[in-house]
């Protein structure tokens, strides 16, 4: 993984996937390096647990490797990754019941005072709890819209629904969240 690594850095996602389909491990390594941060953030925001998020992100890359020969560039590669990741996360969310434990490592800030830190942890836990209370498809639509900045058409492609259905999912999700988090509005 040395000389070819430089060539792959300039390659497009589609070219990389073609190389992965031929069994090129360097091309796959480049894909992992390019999209590891995106996969990790989306998985963590959805699952709220570092261990689970890492497992899901890893599994999504393995799925990309397994399905490389069937990959067709009909949408952007980012949409392709999100689709794999969303399916994995929705499956996991359906299998497990939320336990609402807050991941303290997410908000560790040594410069802040202990009281501020505690308040922030509590706030994060409440946001996480509200997000976890949503049905998986509403949660996925919210995360893809709010954090990943995708438009309705892209979200529709990822979740396999129409843009109008995405609008409804986001509308329902926001209404539920407004009811869950009234006291946080003032912060």
């Amino acid at each position: 993984m040395t000389d070819q690594g430089g060539i792959f850095k300039r390659a497009t996602d589609h070219q990389l996937m073609q190389a992965v389909a031929r069994g090129d491990i360097d091309a796959f390594n480049e894909i992992v390096l390019r999209y590891q941060s995106l996969a990790w953030k989306a998985a963590y925001r959805f699952l709220g647990d570092a261990m689970e998020a890492e497992d899901a992100a890893q599994e999504s890359f393995l799925n990309i490797l397994k399905t490389a020969s069937r990959y067709r560039p009909t949408a952007t590669f980012r949409t392709f990754i999100y689709r794999i990741l969303a399916n994995l996360c929705i499956d996991r969310a359906r299998k497990k019941h939320p336990d609402y434990t807050d991941d303290l490592s997410a908000v560790s800030d040594l410069s802040s005072s202990p009281l501020k830190d505690l308040i922030e942890k509590e706030r994060q836990a409440q946001i996480r709890k509200a997000l976890d209370s949503l049905p998986p498809n509403q949660k996925a639509a919210m995360i893809l819209r709010h954090y990943e900045g995708l438009n309705y058409a892209e979200i529709a492609q990822i979740l396999g629904v129409t843009p109008k259905a995405v609008e409804r999912l986001i509308g329902h999700a926001r209404t539920s969240l407004q009811a869950c988090l009234p006291h946080l509005n003032k912060n």
Binding site: Q36, K41, I127, Q178
Partner: protein, 206 residues
């Protein structure tokens, strides 16, 4: 007391007045605005409006409605607040050596342990045909058709030209022992040939 006019009579009268230019233009526009965008329509598209997902014309109509409707305007702020709250959800940094672990797992689980089926799931034996241009595809189909036709006609010719008596004669000649004929007289091959050529009648005589 005079009887009130019927609904149909009222509508007909309004239509006649409208065509006669009885209503001022400003009145007609205000009626149009009222009917085009009401609170229900605005509220149903409010999330899409805030996400910038409505067409330009609808965007203008919603903005006009919001500027004149305090009730609908009061619905906008809570949605914006939800958006702001979720901006604050932090994510821990990417775990160390994440990529290395993915690569190790890929090599362990996929590249070495995967058993390839006899035919891959995405095996498409006629993909080459689909990749050709239309005339070439037609030509390829014609060649395959002609080859099939030729095969059928040749097999028919063989079966029709074969006289049953000739066929029996051919099978008698092809018994396989003629390959042993040029063997030296005292060799194992000649002994085997002598044994094999003994007819059942000869055996009973012995």
């Amino acid at each position: 007391m005079p009887e009130p006019p019927s609904k149909l009579a009222c509508l007909t009268s309004i239509k006649t007045d409208f065509h006669a230019g009885a209503f001022p233009v400003s009145f007609v526009y205000s009626v149009k605005k009222e009917t085009a965008m009401n609170c229900k329509t605005v509220l149903s598209r409010l999330h899409a409006y805030l996400d910038g997902e409505v067409p330009a014309k609808l965007l203008r109509q919603i903005e006009e409605h919001l500027s004149s409707c305090p009730s609908c305007r009061s619905q906008v702020e809570p949605i914006r607040q939800v958006h702001d709250i979720f901006e604050g959800l932090s994510v821990p940094p990417l775990p160390r050596e994440f990529a290395a672990r993915v690569m190790a797992k890929a090599q362990r689980e996929v590249l070495f342990t995967e058993r390839k089926p006899l035919f891959p799931l995405d095996w498409q034996p006629f993909q080459w045909l689909l990749d050709l241009s239309a005339p070439m595809r037609l030509a390829a189909c014609a060649v395959v058709f002609l080859a099939c036709l030729l095969g059928v006609s040749m097999s028919k010719e063989l079966s029709l030209s074969g006289n049953p008596q000739n066929l029996v004669a051919q099978t008698e000649n092809i018994d396989g022992f003629e390959w042993f004929s040029p063997t030296p007289p005292a060799s194992l091959g000649s002994a085997y040939l002598a044994l094999a050529l003994v007819t059942p009648g000869d055996q009973s005589a012995r």
